[in-house]
Amino acid sequence: MISLAGRDIMHAWGKFVFTGVGLGLLIGVTLTMAGVYRGMVDDAKALLDNSGADLWVVQKDTLGPYAESSSLYDDTYRSLLSISGVARAANITYLTMQVQEGGRDVRAMVVGVVSGSPVQPGQPSYLISGRQITRGHYEAVADIASGFKLGQSIQIRRNHYTVVGLTRRMVSSGGDPMVFIPLKDAQEAQFLKDNDAIVQQRRRTAENPAFNRPNVPGLLDQVIASQSTNAFVNAVLVQIKPGFSAEEVAEPIRHWKRLQVYTRTQMQSILVGKLIATSAKQIAMFLVILAVVSAAIVAFIIYTLTMGKIREIAVLKLIGTKNRTIAGMIMQQALGLGVIGFVVGKVSATFWAPIFPKYVLLEPGDAIRGFFAVMLICVLASLLAIRAALKVDPAEAIGG
């Protein structure tokens, strides 16, 4: 038997395909919006994954280092290494700032990592070009999203760094690309004021009679020297030995070292639940509205498409076609439209997702959920259309 739906589609295939493509673009936008939301959450998780840490040791009573600022003495890691269950501990600093390159500047998260010894926590875990940092100063590994290229010289504060390696998906929770530099440089960059401010500060100190005593030569120099050092880091990343649970290692540090320690789960809840909560909710709200609007539009299109054929349906009824056949035709068309729409939507979303400035993560789970949602909406919309079609009076075929 020939398919009534197929014949009808063939009858006006252009209209059908174009409607499907239009629908698809709308579904594509919805999927992309879901991707934008997932991307935000994934950026936050990427930050955690890339640090390679099991525990984050930060200043007491802070939510550092990502959600709040935190500072620890840079020799804290030595005492952490003596805690049982700690395999590796490494200092790290994070500072979001503008990085200069040529005439432009790029907003980036500058990460100070321990250099000199390979594969330490905090160092970029994989590269896509170049090499890891080997010198203790003035080398950088940058995320490719920053636009930096191998061998380029970039400027952070007053120092110039050579880009020796590139990596990807190393971003801050805000999606800014990371630039990894040696820890000592980063400590300096975090602290270092511009030269003008330093000169002013020196003068201010020199004016202070408490520091500039004529009978204590050299005191002023010492005071100025002590003003321009930075012995702080933002966090210590800890990797634990196999066989220990994160909480088992974290508890003694909290207790004995009087520092705040976060496990991965806690850190993730801080990032997702606090740091990006509002912006993620914003996107989620938009996603919900977009999904509702898309569903409504899909339903209207199918309804109007069927209503456009109301005369032909009346003729079918007139020649005695069964109601089931007519209902099947409408539903098959609606589902066909949904499938084309979904395919076009998925393809278009996949192709335009990489163009977005921030990461857009299209999860297969979302796509599958989206597919069933589209199908459900098509079925519901076609039910409405079927109801209207079955109610039509066959006499209309010859009338008006």
Binding site: K15, Y126, S129, R135, G136, H137, R168, P364
Partner: protein
């Protein structure tokens, strides 16, 4: 609407639907979790690497002479300016002597008075001696006269007593003369002391050198020991370098070094490690070393300039070598993703020396010729599907390898 015959309409429909489906399948397989991870592969090479260590430091003068007064006072004059070359013994400046010159004049007057006293005492001595001689002769004469009974015994006794008095008087004037001479010596010594103090107010360089700073200007009061002028020996320039302790193994005196001044980026000056300091910096976790230039740069770079120093260590014997970008840590183990028959396998390794170009020696776990993953698009897992490519997309080929 174009009325196509049924057949060509079907054809047109297929022409639209089929590419769309193919595109969809491609998209489903090439993105998301089903997509293979793009990786690039490198071969483990057997080669010798030349490790080097890198540090930064500042240019310093080995010998710095801080020249200032030994007592508190006011600076009268400073004769030199920063940048002047000075010679050993040259007068650089002088402190205000205040009353010292007057005291010297007074002391000189005292000296002269003492000298006059000596002269007076000498004259008195001569006078006393003359009196005594005369008294002795008189006494002798009266004794002779007594023998001829021309004078009375009383008169002789009187003359004898006169003689004794004259003798005592002579002894007294001798003592006076000695006292006056001692007084003269004392005043001379006092005068010498004051002159010494006066000389001490002159600021004199002990060596040939360059005036590096002039901290005080005339009229300023300084405390004892406060430098007025700092003189350095420009021939003694060296670099105080700090090396990260993590990578400083093998650092020793005598190793060749390349010194790059911050003001002359890209231009390396040869030098050598003079000594590694026995005391490391415990706070900054750095090893300190002194590096000297083989030949001093001309013109002299400013003291305090930042320099980068690369010290070449001895070349290592050939061993399997991998780039540091391929090192990974999985479950706490250091290793690499090796590729065997197109399958990923994590190979734990032990690493040895590294060089500054990112080469890492493998002591255990890999053989030359093995293929390992160098770059990857994501972090890899043992179950990852991989696709080997020449270059990870997005990396521009134009970037020069540092």
């Amino acid at each position: 609407m174009i009325r196509l015959p049924i057949k060509s309409r079907t054809f047109a429909m297929i022409a639209v639907i089929v590419p769309l489906l193919i595109l969809f399948i491609y998209v489903a397989l090439r993105s998301g979790p089903l997509a293979p991870v793009l990786v690039t592969v490198t071969t483990v090479e057997n080669k010798a690497i030349a490790p080097a260590i890198f540090g930064i430091g500042t240019l310093e003068a080995r010998y710095t002479y801080k020249i200032g007064p030994t007592v508190a006072g006011r600076v009268k004059q400073v004769n030199v300016n920063v940048g002047d070359f000075v010679h050993a013994g040259q007068l650089l400046g002088e402190m205000e002597p205040i009353d010292l010159d007057n005291r010297i004049i007074a002391q000189e007057a005292t000296s002269k008075r003492a000298m006059a006293s000596v002269l007076a005492a000498e004259a008195q001595t001569q006078d006393a001696a003359a009196r005594r001689d005369f008294a002795r002769i008189q006494a002798k004469r009266y004794e002779d006269l007594l023998l001829s009974r021309s004078v009375s015994a009383e008169a002789v006794d009187a003359k004898r007593q006169e003689y004794k008095v004259a003798e005592s008087s002579l002894a007294a004037s001798h003592a006076n003369l000695e006292a006056a001479r001692q007084e003269l010596a004392r005043t001379h010594a006092d005068r010498g002391g004051l002159s010494q103090q006066r000389t001490n107010l002159r600021l004199i360089t002990p060596v040939d050198g360059l005036v590096a700073s002039r901290d005080i200007d005339p009229g300023t009061t300084v405390v004892a020991g406060q430098p007025v002028v700092v003189v350095i020996d420009p021939k003694s320039l060296w670099v105080n370098v700090r090396f990260e302790q993590l990578s400083a193994s093998g650092l020793q005196a005598g190793l060749a070094a390349m010194i790059v001044l911050r003001s002359q980026k890209g231009y390396a000056i040869p030098g050598a490690v003079l000594r590694v300091e026995p005391l490391a910096d415990a706070v900054t976790e750095e090893v300190l070393a002194k590096v000297v230039f083989d030949q001093l740069p001309v013109p002299l770079p400013p003291i305090g300039e930042l320099v980068e120093v690369t010290v070449a260590l001895a070349k290592q014997p050939p061993a399997p070598v991998i780039p540091n970008a391929s090192l990974q840590r999985v479950d706490g183990q250091l290793g690499v993703w090796a590729i065997e028959d197109g399958e990923l396998k994590f190979e734990p390794i032990r690493i040895g020396a590294t060089d500054l170009d990112g080469n890492v020696q493998v002591i255990e776990g890999l053989k030359g010729g093995q293929k390992v993953v160098l770059y990857s698009q994501h972090a890899l897992k043992a179950s990852s599907r991989i696709k080997i490519v020449k270059q990870i997309p997005g990396v521009s080929a134009s970037g020069s390898k540092p």
